[in-house]
């Protein structure tokens, strides 16, 4: 064989071959605060999924029970009961289901739409990019919450419209982040190499560009979920979001704020739930950013 023999084995080859994503997740697992955030989110997801098993929606969550109204935290009602005698714990847990499902649905839709728009804009550049970027700039000029309020107010308040509003207000952020990442990646030689072996633009975007833009999008995804949850609570607090009697943290805050002097626990627990959720997503997001940062490699 005329070709030079392969190099002798170096020790690192004996290792399992790990993709970059795997390595990043390994780094993430070593970050204590991020793991804490992840655990909180995991618990919340489990609570949301098994909310019906824990508390019956019809019987405990929405059924008014004047006999038990305004009771402070006790063994029977660890979070107490509200002004209509409903178990606050049950309502907070069922509220998780509402917040998380709307938050995730809106963010995932926004990331797909925004990601696609940003990818096209960044990859093709020139006029396409000009037009898309200006439209995104216009959307971005309107504060996200305000935009959501406008959309919900113009249509009507329903879960579907809420998700739609949050999706639209989150699209520009994903578009911008994806566009930036795509613009960096598309100048790499491996994109040119893909073109040199005869790959079409679509193949290049899907197989070579987007997988390499995943890191910033993933970070934005976590941050964006927390933004969405906060916005839902805000809208519900204003009466534009989830409607009674469906339990939602923001709506619970709104209805209990009249009793804040005498029964502060009524506002405390939904508030705590919002805070914990936002904190958890932000911790995870920060951890992800560090873990995915190539400079740490």
């Amino acid at each position: 064989m005329a070709v030079q023999a392969a190099a002798k084995p170096a020790s690192r080859d004996a290792r399992r071959h790990n993709s970059q994503m795997y390595d990043a997740m390994r780094r993430l697992a070593q970050n204590k605060t991020a793991v804490l955030g992840f655990i909180i989110i995991l618990i919340m997801i489990l609570l949301a999924v098994f909310a019906d098993v824990l508390f019956n929606y019809e019987q405990t969550v929405i059924k008014q029970n004047y006999a038990e109204m305004c009771q402070g935290p006790s063994l029977a009602y660890p979070f107490g009961t509200d002004e209509l005698g409903r178990d606050i714990l049950a309502r907070v847990i069922h509220g998780t289901r509402v917040s998380l499902s709307i938050g995730f649905a809106a963010t995932i839709m926004a990331s797909f739409l925004g990601g696609a728009i940003g990818a096209v804009s960044g990859f093709y550049g020139r006029r396409v990019d000009m037009i898309i970027s200006r439209v995104m700039d216009m959307l971005m000029a309107i504060p996200g919450t305000l935009l959501a309020i406008a959309i919900v107010a113009a249509l009507e308040t329903s879960m579907r419209n809420l998700i739609l509003a949050l999706t639209i207000s989150s699209i520009p952020k994903f578009a911008r982040i994806t566009r930036g990442a795509v613009m960096t990646v598309k100048d790499c030689e491996h994109i040119e190499a893909a073109r040199a072996i005869g790959a079409r633009n679509g193949t290049i975007i899907i197989h070579h560009v987007l997988p390499n833009c995943l890191a910033p999008i993933l970070v934005e995804l976590t941050i964006s979920v927390s933004f969405a949850i906060l916005t839902i609570s805000g809208l519900s607090f204003l009466g534009l979001g989830v409607q009674a009697p469906r339990p939602e943290w923001g709506a619970m805050l709104a209805s209990s704020r009249t009793y804040i002097r005498d029964y502060s626990y009524m506002t405390f627990f939904p508030g705590l739930a919002i805070m914990l959720t936002i904190l958890a997503f932000n911790l995870l997001g920060d951890g992800l950013r560090d873990a995915l940062d190539p400079r740490l490699k």
Partner: protein, 319 residues
């Protein structure tokens, strides 16, 4: 492909690639004409910004040429439709400079090498394709167990071998090598150069070898062309060029190579003067500003490329 041994495999005629910049038109490649016969290696040397990489990419239509034609085996590449061009890419391939950025970090070695085979549907069966990937890996000296490794786990030399295997996957006739060894350490550089030479002998490849390293190009190429600011200034068989450099720029370039030997005899020509801007260059010899022998004629006219000796072309009035 019906290429007879006498007809050149690659014919480049008056190739031009201009870029629009805010300050004017950048003449990256300006009116370059040359031919390359099958099975030979043409070295392209020049300093950064001379347009050598741009030319390689314009030939492969990774950049659309502004003007001129590129004939590959008699066919005008610049007139092909996108679909025809994709098919053409099985005959013309490229090896890139940077083994770190030229591989997709999210694809394993096997995936990267299999991709061109998949794209062109060269081999249908999954198992046959995998067998071909392993065969290619053996050809370029990569051990089989690296098939699932990712580029970031490997050193520069091995990554460059992956790049070579990917180029070979479609059985090309012609490969543009854009500084394939300049990012590597000398001992690894020698491994890759030997590999490329062996492949040429075995498969009968034709190379366009772009580099700034003069000792490498001398070792590797049959013919060498020297570029300066988008222009072809001298082209000659390697031996001829190194023993009788004719263009003043070539002379300066050759004298500037640091030679790893004690007591060198040759006198170094140190260039002075500012480098002419390649943006809207004047109608003059582009080297005139730094040339020790420049005359008024050099500053008023562009010197044409003329054959001084058989196979030895120079673009200079004074030689």
């Amino acid at each position: 492909m019906g290429v007879t041994s006498t007809a050149p495999l690659l014919q480049v005629n008056h190739l031009k690639k201009y870029f629009k910049t805010p300050r004017g038109t950048l003449h990256a490649v300006d009116d370059v004409t040359f031919t390359l016969e099958a099975g030979r290696t043409l070295g392209v040397v020049g300093e950064s910004g001379c347009g050598k990489s741009t030319m390689g990419r314009a030939i492969l239509r990774l950049l659309e040429p502004t003007g001129g034609e590129v004939r590959f085996a008699g066919e005008d590449v610049s007139k092909l439709s996108p679909a025809q061009m994709r098919a053409m890419r099985t005959k013309m391939q490229m090896i890139f400079q940077d083994p770190f950025s030229s591989l997709d970090p999210r694809k394993s070695v096997g995936q990267t090498i299999a991709e061109p085979i998949r794209l062109h549907r060269l081999i249908r069966g999954k198992q046959e394709r995998q067998a071909r990937v392993l065969e290619l890996m053996e050809t370029v000296g990569l051990s089989e167990r690296l098939v699932n490794a990712y580029p970031h786990e490997l050193d520069g030399g091995r990554r460059q071998r992956i790049g070579i295997a990917r180029a070979l996957a479609v059985n090309p006739k012609f490969i543009v090598c854009d500084e394939p060894v300049s990012a590597l350490d000398v001992s690894i550089q020698a491994q890759i150069l030997n590999l490329m030479k062996d492949l040429q002998e075995k498969i009968g490849l034709t190379y366009l070898f772009i580099t700034h390293d003069l000792s490498v190009v001398n070792h590797f190429s049959d013919d060498i062309m020297v570029m300066y600011l988008g222009r072809l200034v001298e082209k000659a068989p390697s031996e001829d060029l190194f023993s009788h450099p004719t263009h003043p720029y070539t002379k300066a370039l050759l004298s500037a190579i640091p030679i790893p030997k004690l007591h060198r005899e040759t006198k170094r020509i140190l260039l002075k003067g500012e480098i002419t801007s390649p943006i809207d260059p004047p109608n003059a010899c582009r080297f005139a500003n730094r040339c020790p022998h420049a005359t008024d004629q050099c500053r008023q006219q562009e010197p044409p490329l003329r054959e001084r000796a058989p196979g030895h072309f120079v673009a200079c009035f004074n030689q």
